[in-house]
């Protein structure tokens, strides 16, 4: 275990090297490369398509809800998989464990369903 002094020096060296590598690559590129300015080069690259509008539009909030619903199933898959691998060892307890977990998540999903968050066209209440 290094003592305090060499640790601080080590950290400093690490930081200096980290900055130097990033800056060095940029500066080297600037010195070596040829300069051929063209307006096309400054344009935003969007898969080769001409861009439309600004890059700060307000996305439809419904996309976020879809993302959240996706998350529910995503987490389910992520935990079902290792569970299935060790299922034989776990026995009945593992079944109840997963059923409990699954039902909690399903309640969340039912809640979304009940209040129409799954409908793409949805009436929004006025304040």
């Amino acid at each position: 275990m290094p003592d305090g002094g060499s640790l601080v020096i080590g950290l400093l060296l690490f930081m200096v090297a980290g900055v130097a590598i990033a800056l060095g690559a940029l500066i080297l590129g600037r010195v070596v490369r040829r300069r051929l300015p063209h307006p096309e080069k400054d344009a935003t690259y969007e898969c080769g398509e001409p861009t439309i509008g600004t890059c700060f539009p307000q996305f439809d909030l419904r996309f976020y809800v879809v993302a959240l619903v996706f998350l529910i199933f995503d987490i389910e898959i992520a935990l079902f998989y290792p569970w299935a691998v060790v299922y034989k060892e776990g026995g009945v307890a593992a079944l109840w464990d997963m059923l409990f977990f699954f039902s909690v998540i399903v309640v969340g999903f039912l809640y979304l369903w009940r209040f129409g968050y799954l409908n793409w066209v949805r009436a929004t209440p006025k304040d």
Binding site: M1, P2, D3, G4, L7, V8, V86, E89, G90, A93, A94, D97, V104, V107, G108, L110, Y111, R114, F115, P125, D127
Partner: protein
Amino acid sequence: MWMPTGDELSMLGPHWALVGTIVAILIGAIIAGRNWRVAGTIAMVGGLLTAGLCALGWKGLGTNWAGMAGGAGGVPMLVADQFSYFFIFLISIFLVLIAGMWFLGQDARLPEKLARKRDATEFYVLLVGSAFGMALMVSTTNLLMIIIAVEMTSLPSYALAGFRKKHRLATEASLKYILFGAVTSAIMIYGASLLYGQYHSLDIVVIGRAIVEQLTIGTTEAGGAILNAPTVLMSVSIVAFMIGAMFKVSAVPFHFWCPDVFEGASIEITTWLSVASKAAGLGLLLRVVAVLAAQLGDGAEQTLNWVRLAVAVMAALTCTLGNFSAYRQTNMKRLFAFSSIAHAGYMLMAVAIILPTGGAASGAAHPAFSAIVLYITVYLLMNLGVFGCIAMVYWATGREDIGAFNGLIRRSPVIAVMMVAFLFSLVGMPPLGGFIAKFWLLAALFDSGPIGILLVIVAVANTLFSLYYYARVAFAMCFSDDGQPAIRVPFLGQAAATVCALAILLIGTLWAGNIKTFSDERSSNLYAVTKQAEQPVEEAVKTAELDFRE
């Protein structure tokens, strides 16, 4: 594969009750639709159930570990003892009171009245969710679990802070809270990763033992270990790790979110964050420092000196800055945000002195533990009272600046009198509970050596400073009547404020002895976690790693 035993499951009863409450609120909403009464009632019943389970369970409860990865002696996930049960009790009782406050506020003519009614389900789910995070926070010594618990507390709190949708201040509060919380969690997780990298364990008990092994260079004649000077990396990683809890407690310099969030959030959330978030953060800090100190034993003073100094300086700065910033505030929520920062400072002072001075070996509790338990209990009542009174004035007048309190003694005598009681209890005047709380805190500080005595001086000076701005509110209520009309306050609200004030008065007088015994008992076995330390470090690490591989 590890499976929980029945004992483990039953000792986590309060945690189960809180999870069950969240699910029950959702099921209630699915069945009954968006009904704010149903959601609120379920939340209140769930909170009461949790508190009841804690109160029934804590009698004679020892230190119980749950979720041992790798069998006995492995890395436990959760711990159920009197200390964690007490904090969960406190948090769930507070949850019930906040739910009640939301009920009362429902009758007020607020601009957001309709939205409040409609979104009540989400409000209660988020509220209970953050309460559950806090319950996890106070009952774990596992780095991963601590990180999950802090996030579990924070994420619903961010949403709750911005719960008044389309309200500019609330949105600002929520954004500031998220940004600040994200940065402090990043620092905390970085500290945790450094700790794990050095000591190859997620459990603070094992980390404590690994630190002792790393630093031991010999033994004294009596058999105690002689420790080398601590490494810088160790101190830095422990302090970085503690920053997550410091953020929850709103210690300077991590307090910037506090006034803005308190001002922007609706008043129920302000009250909730002002007590529950601080209680959970303190519970976590206390446990982490106590466990480390108990593992280090005789070497704790020397090894953790740097950490202790950092906490002491933060505590002194927190209460001084909190009190001075409160001077010029005219918004009541902001004023009491700074007041709550100052009180967090007083409580942090006790964290700075809990390194054992021979106490860990004999199994006796450090007086600072019970001082904090007592302080947080009284603080809950005082703050609930103060914010309740502010809420009732806000509901009646729509204003929350100090001018709305002018002449309150004529406009609503009950509220004004109770408010004065809460204010003087916050200052720490006898015969109110705040005095007893501060007395035991200062006594614990005074007995703990030079750092403690310096902190006593800071605390006493701060008490004097704080008198001014608390008295300013009392002055406005009693002596600067500008002829505003009388206000109507809900009867239940008046009754609740009266009960709070009476409880504070009783704690300050008749119950002073009982509450001291109570807090001694609740905090008695914090050091006892040492007993888990039978297994040598390598084995504990190995079993944990094996378990991961399985």
